[in-house]
Symmetry: C4
């Protein structure tokens, strides 16, 4: 199997998982207020839709950056990628739970579910990269060691950051949700301003 084929399959899962998020956005079957009021009241759903869509989008961008360095694919790498995609495809479920419960007494459980999903995803993502890059196992022969260690350094904070935001959820689910949004926003802005050359 070539990296290109894996890329096509992964792109499909990224695109479908992100687009499926909209299925879970909806108003209650019985309206208690005017439609306009109900549409405003479900803002946590828009927020959840937005941060999960952006996070999946960022993962897609980074997954491509990984595969660009990879020359060949072996079975363990393939199954690590399937594990990563299993996590990505799982994201709509915690998103739905977070949007529904973040402002209730059950908010902590919802924030932890969301955070554990994101942390696990980040761990799989990092494992995919480490497996491929360890002693240059699957990388292009001519790849620049400085670039490789630069990528490793840039992916390293992902899992701990999500784990920290998850722990915050035990105390304040809303602060935790805000952190998940900030992580995605900060990443997009910083890589837009400082990382242009990487994307080219």
């Amino acid at each position: 199997m070539t990296p290109a084929r894996l890329e096509t399959f992964a792109d499909g899962v990224f695109a479908i998982a992100a687009t499926l998020l909209i299925i879970d956005v909806g108003i209650p079957a019985e309206l208690n207020n005017s439609l306009g009021q109900e549409l405003l009241d479900i803002w946590p759903q828009y927020f959840g839709y937005g941060i999960s869509f952006l996070t999946i989008g960022i993962m897609w961008v980074n997954h491509h950056a990984v595969l660009r360095q990879v020359e060949r694919v072996d079975r363990p790498f393939l199954f690590l990628n399937i594990g990563l995609l299993l996590c990505i495809a799982f994201v709509p479920f915690p998103t739905r739970i977070l949007a529904e419960f973040v402002r209730t007494d059950d908010g902590a459980a919802a924030a932890v579910l969301y955070g554990v999903t994101m942390t696990t995803t980040a761990v799989f993502f990092f494992s995919v990269w480490i497996y491929a890059s360890h002693r240059g196992r699957l990388l292009h022969p001519g790849v620049d060691p400085k670039e490789v260690s630069g990528i490793t350094r840039s992916y390293l904070p992902g899992a701990p950051t999500y784990a920290a935001a998850t722990l915050v959820g035990l105390v304040s689910p809303e602060a935790s949700a805000a952190l998940f949004g900030l992580i995605a926003t900060f990443y997009m802005l910083s890589s837009s301003f400082f990382g242009r050359s990487n994307a080219e």
Copy 2:
């Protein structure tokens, strides 16, 4: 990242968002009339399905026209595109709301939700193009300046037109829905009769 890779991902989101629209078409759980009558009574759902499918289809055609001019992709361009796709993937929700409420007292809120979504989508679409074409930032070196300014002119009316149709929704939701359908139909017919060479 190459424009081709972005194109594949974007195509996925366009195709999935359009195909997901059918999930929201359905008859009530409890039939009050014969099935035939119920199937006729839900015509606003067919209408909503049709205009949203066509609008997403048109956006897909135009998105390709943009990427055909683009030689390279940087991070801000990538994230602007993810913002555009976030809007496209959102379309099934306002479509469902519009179909359900356009003929009720809450029609205005439904039409405004639909219109704001389309206007925002058009703004993102225009931003994607302006970011890529400003001083030829990401375009092919040999691109014709007259063609570039022609494309700019053709995309310019999108957002104001949708904004105007949204305002109509405050007065008459049904007129607003008809306008959304007319915009898509008019665009398809005019570009079929006058714009053939562009698509080739």
Copy 3:
């Protein structure tokens, strides 16, 4: 736009529409019998899933056969294809209705809805081909006129056949449903035994 790009987008819609069919397969929320009995009782849903999946699969095969003859794409051709895909993506809805109502007093309306969808799809399919092939408008210059008229002849019976099966539905919904299944089966078998060279 190249035929390859249209093909990618169309493939996406075909694959998604076929795969979404499974969402509508399910048992009642309240079981009246053992699970085993309920799973047997919903056989019309398996039947509907099967014939719609196969029909979409056949349309996909034929759509490729059309695009293989096409050298270039213009706007009217693009929008005819979007019309065809709008019909394909609509198929899950009549499938769900047919499976639910074929054995009830409302069976005729369900069969007619399914049949009208299939007939319209066949009409769009034929229009796509006629538009492309009329005076060789979009075809490869060196295409064999005998092959072109052979394709035209092979697609010609599609819409009338579906229209006839739709009319049968007014009298007997179950006979109509059986016919929809027979059309797909017959097509697959005949093209497998007599049309091998076409697919290569």
Copy 4:
């Protein structure tokens, strides 16, 4: 039709079927316990999601291994593949039923439904391979006969293994579900440790 085109369509169905599995993961509409407890109580849903996602992922890897050997595609091969994809796209339904009923008195019916689906899928998969490889019908001319018979041997146990796990479900649904999980895990581990060269 080229194997590449079939591969794209098949990849789409594999990716969509796997990603759709998450739609069926959910908590009850009425909570009887805290959210945290409910999220733990639905572990059979996570389990079902996991094994079905991995099984579809493995089938995707193997389907690629088949198509890599194939030089050309004819109609019967195409329709055998559509039959295989029909089974793959069906997987979300038995997954949902298994997760809901495995711990109830109806567990046997649920395990049998899941097992029959997997057995049928394995039969179609084997048929696809046998049809393509019988007397080298569709294979690349220079393909190594030893590799061909090696692939045949490696796919041979699939259907009987799933059939045996299905029969176990008649006695113990939970043991059967555990077996479905073990089959996928064992396959991934064994092909990762012993089959690395095959994936390259």
